[in-house]
């Protein structure tokens, strides 16, 4: 019993102090995947803020965008043209979703819209596999001028490896997040988005077109999905199993709160780092593979304590 407690509560920390290079390495890996989780979570937040729809299909949009990009490139389209075409495909998707799914379901309870996005998810899975096939593909990293290779830094009594791709991913994701934050707070469209988020009716009454705003928001989420797809695809290949990774954005959102962009970022970092540290230091105690569920359990425990998330607005209910 004592031995067990020692293994759970003391040994991992001793190991952290003994080998700080491994700790830093784990932290760095957690940081990178955290930033990428945050990027996916951002797509959710964008749509949720503007239309009140919790878009479960964001995960498959990531896969879909990446598949279009790679699929077009394989057909002989130049890489950057493929990138633009993939972005256009996301615009088309946004318009179709707005017309076919959102407009008929306006004013329905949130949970109905949530379930409609399940339908969208399955439709896109079937559609994507029908067109591109189910086999995993390589992301075109070279053609998009994404750096490869690693830098090793000798420090803390060992060497720490930094993948250049990871550094690029962290930087690009940060730029994306910054751009979106500016877009939301400074531009005319951003203000309209926030108005729609506050109240559909009030926004309509001052002349904001809901349909147009929804297309813009879904398009923005599609672009975020494309970037996330490129980054995740470069790290672990483009396949439909990416969708499971995208589901990790859900606990991130729970931690950060559904309506907060800083929340999505901090939630992403907590989940990414917590997951890697948990896997590396405590995972072996229970046989490994804890990465698949640790994020959800962290979110679950967190929910019990603070249901609205770190930065979410307090939930007030009225009868």
């Amino acid at each position: 019993m004592i031995d067990m407690l020692f293994k759970v509560f003391i040994e991992p920390f001793l190991f952290m102090v003994e080998a700080p290079d491994l700790l830093i390495q784990t932290l760095w890996e957690g940081l990178v995947s955290g930033v990428l989780y945050a990027l996916i979570a951002l797509g959710f937040v964008l749509i949720f803020k503007a239309s009140g729809v919790f878009n479960f299909a964001q995960g498959i949009m990531v896969v879909f965008a990446a598949l279009i990009l790679v699929g077009l490139y394989e057909k002989g389209v130049p890489a950057f043209l493929a990138l633009i075409l993939a972005a256009l495909a996301m615009l088309v998707l946004a318009m179709v979703v707005e017309r076919v799914v959102l407009r008929p379901l306006v004013n329905q309870p949130d949970i109905i819209l949530f379930m409609a996005t399940f339908g969208l998810t399955y439709f896109l899975i079937g559609f994507g596999e029908l067109i591109f096939g189910g086999s995993p593909r390589e992301m075109i990293t070279d053609q998009l001028f994404l750096p490869q290779g690693t830098t090793e830094i000798d420090a803390f009594g060992g060497s720490i490896r930094f993948q250049h791709l990871d550094i690029a991913a962290a930087i690009i994701a940060s730029i994306m997040i910054g751009l979106l934050a500016v877009f939301f707070s400074k531009t005319r469209i951003g203000r309209a988005l926030r108005a729609v988020a506050d109240s559909h009716k009030a926004a309509l009454s001052v002349g904001i077109s809901l349909n147009q705003i929804w297309v813009i928001v879904w398009f923005a989420a599609g672009i975020v999905a494309l970037v996330a797809g490129i980054m995740w695809g470069a790290r672990s290949g483009v396949s439909f199993s990416l969708q499971i990774i995208a589901l990790k954005a859900l606990p991130v959102l729970i931690l950060g709160g559904f309506t907060s962009i800083p929340g999505a970022i901090i939630g992403g970092l907590i989940i990414g780092i917590g997951e890697k540290i948990g896997e590396f230091y405590w995972g072996p105690l229970v046989g490994g593979g804890v990465e698949t569920w640790l994020a959800y359990v962290i979110a679950l425990l967190f929910l019990l304590y603070r249901p609205q998330g770190l930065f979410g607005e307090k939930i007030i209910e009225r009868i």
Binding site: F114, A116, F118, G119, I244, T292, V297, L303
Partner: protein
Amino acid sequence: MLYREAGQFKTTYVADSAIFPLREDRIGLAIIILGAYALAFLGNSFLLQAVMIPFLVFSLAAIGLNILTGYTGLLSLGTGAFMGVGAYACYKLMTAFPGVNVIVWIFVSGFFSAAIGALFGLPSLRIKGFYLAVATLAAQFFLQWCFIRIPWLVNYNVSGALDAPLRTLFGIPIIGPNATPQTRYLVVLTIVIVLTWIASNLVHGRIGRMWIAIRDMDLAAELMGIRPLQTKLLAFAVSSYYCGVAGALLVFLWYGGAEYDVFNINQSFFILFMVIIGGLGSLIGSFFGAALIFILPIVLGIVLPAMFEPFGISVAADVIEHLRFMIVGALIIFFLIVEPHGLARLWQIGKQKLLVWPFPY
């Protein structure tokens, strides 16, 4: 003509509030049940094994989820994992106590699933909607991890898979390689009928009304004296019980052995889709939904090649699987927009039209 309300007078309150107030409905139900039993002797083994048994198993799981999502309004994405708990519990009980009849263990295994379900239902007091959906995702991924990583669950079997040992009822094998589809079908059918009858009594009684009150507005229900924690946990437990029994039936009476992957997140989603398409908050809808979602790919597999092969286009099996995903996804959106109460509502409209036929109303 045959289906008329006229002349059937209700003289007691009990008769008035019966589940099937019309004589014709009761006769129809009796015919359906008799027909289902007769199918065991009339149908060939392909029909029983590949269509009827899975249809009944999925119907049972859909009833379980419908209790939680349709009646109590709590969205769960962990159905597959709760089914798995039932299957693994049944396997452990069956192999640890081979002397006791396996039917007992199938029913008991549901209680293990109910306990796990209630445990993961605890957060439902504080959270709802998609927050709760994410919490049930935790159950899905955690339990599936347990199925992979805890070899004790499969008796340290090298393959890591569940297998069905030979078990008999009245000397006739019902589980294991020797069991014929016919006997397995009869066992599944009987279990599903018994559990559906119990579910029907639950949802039409006091407990069911408590669930519905919680679904419609939990705060108001609480003010009326319904305890939210107990009611929600009860819904989780009952729902998981049904899913657990369905999981045990799925592995031992349909597949005859399975791996952890059967209980993955796609399974959870397909059962949720059965509930949505069939009709949220309707027991008969669970059967309709299961029929549509499960039989759709079988029909596609027969119809599509028949349609395209004459033109020299061969339709591969994976294309059918992809089309199934697309059609199911589109159907979900279609039903949510056009008929949010699902196939069950269409059934009700149909019955109403029949009652007043040939007049419009």
